[in-house]
Amino acid sequence: MQSEVMFAGFGGQGILLIGKILAHAAMEEGFEVAWIPSYGPEMRGGTAYCTVVISDRPIGSPIIKNPLHLVAMNRPSLEKFAPAVKPNGVILVNSSLIDIDCGRQDVDELRVPVVDIAQKIGNPRAANIVALAAFVARSRIVSIDTLKKCVEHEFQKKAKLIPLNLKAVEEGVKAAG
């Protein structure tokens, strides 16, 4: 079994970071993983994206044209990547910034106002963690416990941010229903 998750949004939204946290969590759960960033000559304010491949056997091609899931943090990335998602995948839409739907009937569209939620718990910059947690809760790609451990690990050098980000995980899980 292999699944692929594409994270996409503006540069600065913490897209690469949440991809890395998911890859780390999946590694901790014993999966083979690969994290592939976009590192082209991107414009400031342009799109940033990364793909995380999670598999129970060695990963062949790390280049993924059609991911199983998509976490879209802004409208251009939803418009660009939603058509590529495989049927039955999860598309998480950051509804704080995106006022259109994904336009697909064959996927599980989860709309979460991640920026509003992050604002409510004290810092809009935690919106990425809210999105990651909501996505993980819906897709069950890794356990929430592992996710929390990896969020803590990621912020161990900025320990004062750990409570905020763990709160963001909880709120994200709640929002996924």
């Binding site: 890395k20 890859a23 690969a34 592939i36 590192y39 082209g40 062949g60 091609s61 280049i63 044209k65």
Partner: protein, 355 residues
């Protein structure tokens, strides 16, 4: 230490330290700058040296100097930077010094692009600079393999007193994968007092080591080149490494592919297998010395009708494959060279055209 999730470039940097290399000279260039970024922090921690040169040409001579003094030394760069280093590499080959070069290839020619490519194949396998010379060239297909190859590269460079190159591409450098680091290398080059300029005490010995690539006496220069040739012949006997995939099947098409591209080919081969088409793969782990015999045997296998070179260059590896296949079946090429890594579906399409 268990598995850690690391970016290829950072893992390469850490691997060099664990190989006992405490000298790193470099000039930043995408897509490998994280190596320098990582070592600018890490080298001081372990008592090593990182000096950023004013250019890649300068870097190549810093490498030469450290190597001539018997120190373990390496650098990393990407395609245009490696071209600038080619002069120094030639001198290092001529002077028979050990050093490790990592090339995280990007598209060319010229400034090209910054995305993955394998278009420096000919440059890497044909010695890079002027004169009769080669580097031993290892081609990793994963972050784990990049770590292992960097750690193997130092003892190999010392065994042959010749530069060794680890030839990766932008994807290997930028991708994060789990890695497990092998134990620290404990070995030291044992014979360096025989050749390196180690500052020997002339009161105790009148032996004087001279490291040079200038031989004005034509007989001496010819002898130096014969010595180099003997080393390359020895590499061909002792260092050829390759992997075979699905070669037990009755394949009609054999793919030869290395590095990142070979991973995509493995996925394509699995997918073709599900559709009922058997395809074999020989993956060179050393591109110099090239696994001639393995490719020859795999192409000569009964039922094999065509060989396909799949590479992110415009067919540079085809020469080596044809030389190995020796006419037993036709050699075709598929690839892309702009920075896009071909997908498994595109490789499948190219294979099916041969069936």
């Amino acid at each position: 230490m268990g598995k850690v999730l690391m970016k290829g470039n950072e893992a390469i940097a850490e691997a060099a330290i664990r190989a006992g290399c405490l000298n790193y000279f470099a000039y930043p260039i995408t897509p490998q700058s994280e190596v320098a970024e990582y070592l600018s922090r890490r080298m001081p921690e372990v008592g090593g040296v990182f000096l950023q040169g004013e250019s890649e040409v300068a870097v190549s001579y810093m490498i030469f100097g450290a190597a001539a003094a018997g120190a373990r030394v390496f650098t990393t760069s990407s395609s245009p930077g490696i071209s600038l280093m080619s002069e120094g590499v030639s001198y290092i080959i001529g002077a028979q010094c050990p050093a490790v070069f990592v090339n995280i290839m990007r598209g060319g020619p010229g400034l090209g692009g910054i995305l993955p490519s394998q278009a420096d194949y000919n440059q890497a396998t044909r010695g890079i600079g002027h004169g009769d010379g080669h580097l031993l060239v290892l081609a990793p297909a994963s972050v784990q393999e990049a770590v292992e190859m960097v750690m193997q590269a130092f003892p190999l460079a010392e065994k042959y007193r010749n530069p060794v190159m680890v030839l990766g591409d932008g994807l290997i450098g930028q991708m994060m994968e789990p890695v497990e680091f092998p134990d620290h290398l404990k070995t030291e080059p044992s014979d360096k007092d025989d050749w390196a300029t180690t500052g020997m005490d002339t009161r105790k010995s009148d032996k004087r080591n001279l490291v040079r690539s200038l031989f004005l006496d034509p007989v001496q220069l010819n002898e130096n080149n014969l010595a180099l040739k003997r080393k390359y012949e020895q590499m061909k006997k002792e260092e050829v490494r390759f992997e075979q995939y699905n070669t037990d099947s009755d394949y009609k098409v054999l793919i030869v592919s290395y590095g990142t591209m070979s991973r995509v080919c493995k996925t394509a081969i699995d997918m073709l297998g599900e559709q009922g088409f058997a395809v074999g793969l020989v993956r060179p782990l050393t591109v110099f010395p090239f696994p001639e015999e393995a490719v020859n045997k795999a192409a000569a296998k009964k039922g094999c009708e065509a060989v396909l070179s799949v590479e992110m260059s415009m067919g540079q590896m085809v020469d080596d494959i044809e030389r190995s296949v020796r006419g037993s079946c036709p050699v075709h090429w598929y690839g892309k060279c702009g920075g896009e890594v071909p997908t498994p579906e595109e490789v499948i399409e190219a294979v099916k055209q041969l069936m």
